[in-house]
Subunit: 295 residues, 2 copies
Amino acid sequence: MGIGDDCAVLRLPPHHEVLVTTDFSLEGVHFRREWHSAASIGHRCLARGLSDIAAMGGEPRAAFLSLALPGKLPQAWVDGFLRGLLRLAGRFEVGLAGGDTAQSSGGVLADIIVLGSVPKGKAILRSGARPGDRIYVTGALGGSAAVLRKMMARPRRKLEPASFPQHFFPEPRVQLGRFLREKALASAMIDISDGLSTDLAHICEQSGVGAEIQGGAIPKAVMGKPAKQVDPRSALHGGEDYELLFTVPRRKNVPSRIAGVPITWIGRITGGRKILLRDEEGTREFRPQGWEHFK
Amino acid sequence: MGIGDDCAVLRLPPHHEVLVTTDFSLEGVHFRREWHSAASIGHRCLARGLSDIAAMGGEPRAAFLSLALPGKLPQAWVDGFLRGLLRLAGRFEVGLAGGDTAQSSGGVLADIIVLGSVPKGKAILRSGARPGDRIYVTGALGGSAAVLRKMMARPRRKLEPASFPQHFFPEPRVQLGRFLREKALASAMIDISDGLSTDLAHICEQSGVGAEIQGGAIPKAVMGKPAKQVDPRSALHGGEDYELLFTVPRRKNVPSRIAGVPITWIGRITGGRKILLRDEEGTREFRPQGWEHFK
């Protein structure tokens, strides 16, 4: 309701709270038109917002798009962008309920706002992790960053988006996040948008705890032809995978797959403040390494 | 709740619906740093969103700001911008609950999202005007556009913001809009962001009606020293006044002031499709004239 009005009007289920997230997708910061197809840019734009809703265990309800476009942009690009965005929106039954448009004097500027909802008091926060909780990740990590590295190493080679879906068409884990909330499994959750090391640090900081990660257990993305595991650095620190990182009290059983996605146990929450990484080389501090997109 | 989380979590009063509005404020399109102080830009950025909530008869609940800044921008500018925005937010008890930040390769880019709420089914839409309804405006019109004309005519003269509040610090009519909803007075409402001619056309189109406006009745803004009424063109077509335009069934009495703001009866809704303007020069069609900001 409210299409053509000053505001969109949304009715939520009774006893639900509102979830709100906003995310920029800026040309030259979050994407490049030389590297990313219009459809991929539209998809990634919305995926960022849906993934934030997923990370709270929420259900996405509506999206709003503020879009500023350079005057000389071909209409076919805009159509492709919206097609990519709306295809993803359709799969999650999220309507595009409003937004704003303007002319940009620079590149393409998009700001996506996703509204979701969650039963009152049931949102999964970053702050609920407790010593002894087990740490899990969904899917496999590092795929998106490894593709970015590939493109940066050879900027003029255009990669086929369909062959590298981790980067070009990441899948927000909405059903999975909702399952964890409905079954009251996760004590804390975040989406891996900035990289495992950074996002784990967010959970530990908000929860006032430490962690110990088994490096060998971290599921690494596999991609390319012939299929190859990504480098460890991409898996440990690479952002924009949009997998979920969550903690579960030890007494609870976690399925090995949820909503078709493999779940991997990678470590545990500790009472200290340090985040440690254990692997064949020994034990060391697992420091967040900023994920800076590309410049 | 949810600060430091993937989403903000908002609890609304029971039996309320969510109102959502998003508005860009882009350097070179909606403001110029040479003309507008940082505080004015921050104020205007949020005022656009609050005014949309006001136009639905809603109550603003929270604001979200996505802000992309050029690398070389002085910190003092950012502080001034946020001060202007937060001062207005504070007056309406609206918290800044989240958003996003990024570096801009062009100018300052802000996208403001305001969430509000309204009791279920009580939002005042643009589509409710019926033949015979009287048409009202709040405050006085044309002040913002007349200031813009002044600046465009003499681009290097810097106007004192405090002397021209209509343009630099417009007042969103939140209490007034809420009063009209609580008293069930308005059948349709819109805020005058694009100009009277354009916004009246929106109401008529959405309601499937026509209108007749008494040109002489339109309240024109007064400003400058010595104080002078703005030109008729600014009052008829000028945007960004953020006054409210609303319709009321004939049998209902409308106070001459609401929340301290004068209310003026300027015409009536008709069963035709045309919008007519009557003044001393006769009767003619009152066509929407696009408000294009400045370029």
